[in-house]
């Protein structure tokens, strides 16, 4: 029996996929290919002339100490965001899983931050920690801790990490909660009869069963920290002080649109593109084959 839907019309199937293709071409293929093209060109700041320079732009960025520093900053930033966002959300999800009364309201509240745009989240945290008007900065001053993220690189990094992780906690929470609720209760009951304490049960039974979810979230969180946190950085620190929070995606914007080094900026975005493609490959390869019990 032929069960497939067969279109008699030759033109219709193309018409049906056309919108998707058009969007992909306009918003992905075209800019991506432009970036690859520009990454091998040297352009003057006014865009009047361009010369082909081969891989010189790549050699330039990888010998540039600021760029290497930016890679380091990105690594610290994304790992911190991923670790904080995942551990906090796991804790919240584990607790929400046990709540029975008012569970819906509780869950809804935790999911809210995800509805806040990254830039707005950045502004919120910026005001809370603002050395002049911020209420948290004020309390810290009362406790004798001087907070000024526009001078102290470490503090600036902490602040953008908090602001970026805050939003991601909601996202992770949803997945962890769904993951927890999918674990059949008899496993936990069996472990309880076997004599495992609640904490032991969590680490030896629940967590291993959550590992596929956790691995998926690690990749998602790193991708988020790499790319979607531009707004947070832009609003709070502008990559400063002295490049302390200048993550790679911010540097692409900074060098390209403010520094007008189009070739160097394009080379940087090609590097980013390679990173995200490899992350995606890892996710599809690894999550489907290896994390499997």
């Amino acid at each position: 029996m032929e069960k497939r839907v067969v279109f008699k019309h030759k033109f219709l199937p193309y018409l049906l996929v056309a919108p998707q293709i058009a969007i992909t071409i306009v918003f992905f293929i075209w800019p991506a290919s432009q970036a690859v093209y520009q990454s091998v060109l040297q352009e003057d700041p006014f865009g009047l002339s361009a010369t082909f320079v081969g891989l010189a732009n790549f050699v330039d960025i990888f010998t540039d100490e600021i760029y290497l520093h930016s890679i380091y900053v990105t690594a610290v930033f994304s790992l911190s965001v991923a670790v904080i966002a995942m551990s906090v959300s796991l804790l919240l999800a584990a607790m929400a899983d046990r709540v029975i009364k008012g569970a819906t309201a509780y869950k809804t509240l935790i999911i809210w931050p995800y509805a806040v745009a990254p830039a707005v989240a950045g502004v919120l945290w910026y005001f809370l920690f603002n050395p002049t008007v911020g209420i948290i900065a004020l309390y810290m001053k009362v406790l004798g801790y001087e907070w000024n993220h526009s001078l102290n690189g470490g503090q600036a990094m902490s602040l953008v990490v908090i602001a970026a992780a805050w939003r991601e906690i909601s996202y992770n929470f949803l997945f962890f909660l769904a993951g927890l609720q999918a674990i059949p209760k008899p496993f936990i009951e069996a472990a309880a009869i076997d004599g495992a304490s609640p904490l032991k049960r969590f680490w030896t039974i629940t967590f291993p069963l959550l590992s596929p979810t956790a691995f998926f979230l690690i990749v998602m969180n790193i991708v988020y920290a790499f790319f979607d946190t531009f707004g947070v950085i832009h609003v709070i620190t502008d990559g400063g002080p002295s490049n302390a929070t200048n993550i790679m995606v911010y540097k692409v914007y900074h060098d390209g649109f403010l520094g007008l080094d189009l070739g160097g900026s394009a080379a940087q975005s090609v590097v980013l593109m390679i990173i995200v493609i490899s992350l995606t490959v890892i996710q599809f390869r690894y999550i489907e084959r290896k994390v499997n019990y």
Partner: protein, 295 residues
Amino acid sequence: MVNDLEPADRDIAMVFQNYALYPHMSVYKNMAYGLKIRRMPKDEIEKRVRNAAKILEITEFLDRKPRQLSGGQRQRVAMGRCIVREPKVFLFDEPLSNLDAKLRVQMRLEIRRLQEDLKVTSIFVTHDQVEAMTLGDRLIVMDNGYAAQVGSPLEIYERPATRFVAGFIGSPGMNFLPVPLSADGQWAELPGENRLPLQNGGIPSHGGQEVILGIRPEHCDLAGEQDGMMHLDVDHVEILGADTLVYGHFGEDKTRLTVRLPAMHHFEKNTILPLIVSSKNVHIFDKKSEKRIEK
């Protein structure tokens, strides 16, 4: 009383209905988990697990994950996980309900054998009356959260305490006929105007009242045309090989009756079968309380 004790402190082990084997651990680790938690020395754990694996014949699967095992093998692992703990009580929560019919019979025998070897008190929950009859030394029939009867399997079969228990044990289920007793309680009036004399002086306490008469399908026998007490109008026949189930009705108000006759019989529909039942094999229940009325 264990009400105030945590599950871990009750010294029990449980086989779950779906086995609840930890899917991310090998069979060996599944069995060793409880011992590891209790900080037993490694070589002692190894000894116990190997020993249990040998008893259950799962030694070759020790390195496999539960998903690589068949239903019967998982069942053994779940039991192995209990055996290694050497607890005071085994709990079985319908452990055979996920197996196919053939495996179920086999595992039933193995559980019985194992229980006799290990001599550990076991509580076995089941919906399957064959399992209940064959595995139990003592049977508790639960009805809506209450223990309707406690006793040996045969006791429960022969002297069911309530109508519920009577209908629950035995396959096909017992026939229940509402019948009036004679004024002196010496006999019951069957549909179709036949009398069933009651043994041991009858039940004068219920004379003249209506009671429920319970007759097991296997206690009806074919009779000669003259001495039949019930003349069954056959609706439907199931031939099972060793014996034959006959479904039919009799009397004016078409009382339904199921009869199990030994050996092969073939009956046409609407055949009238004369049947007798021995009065020593009938059960009488109170109509209101549905409790057994002792003769």
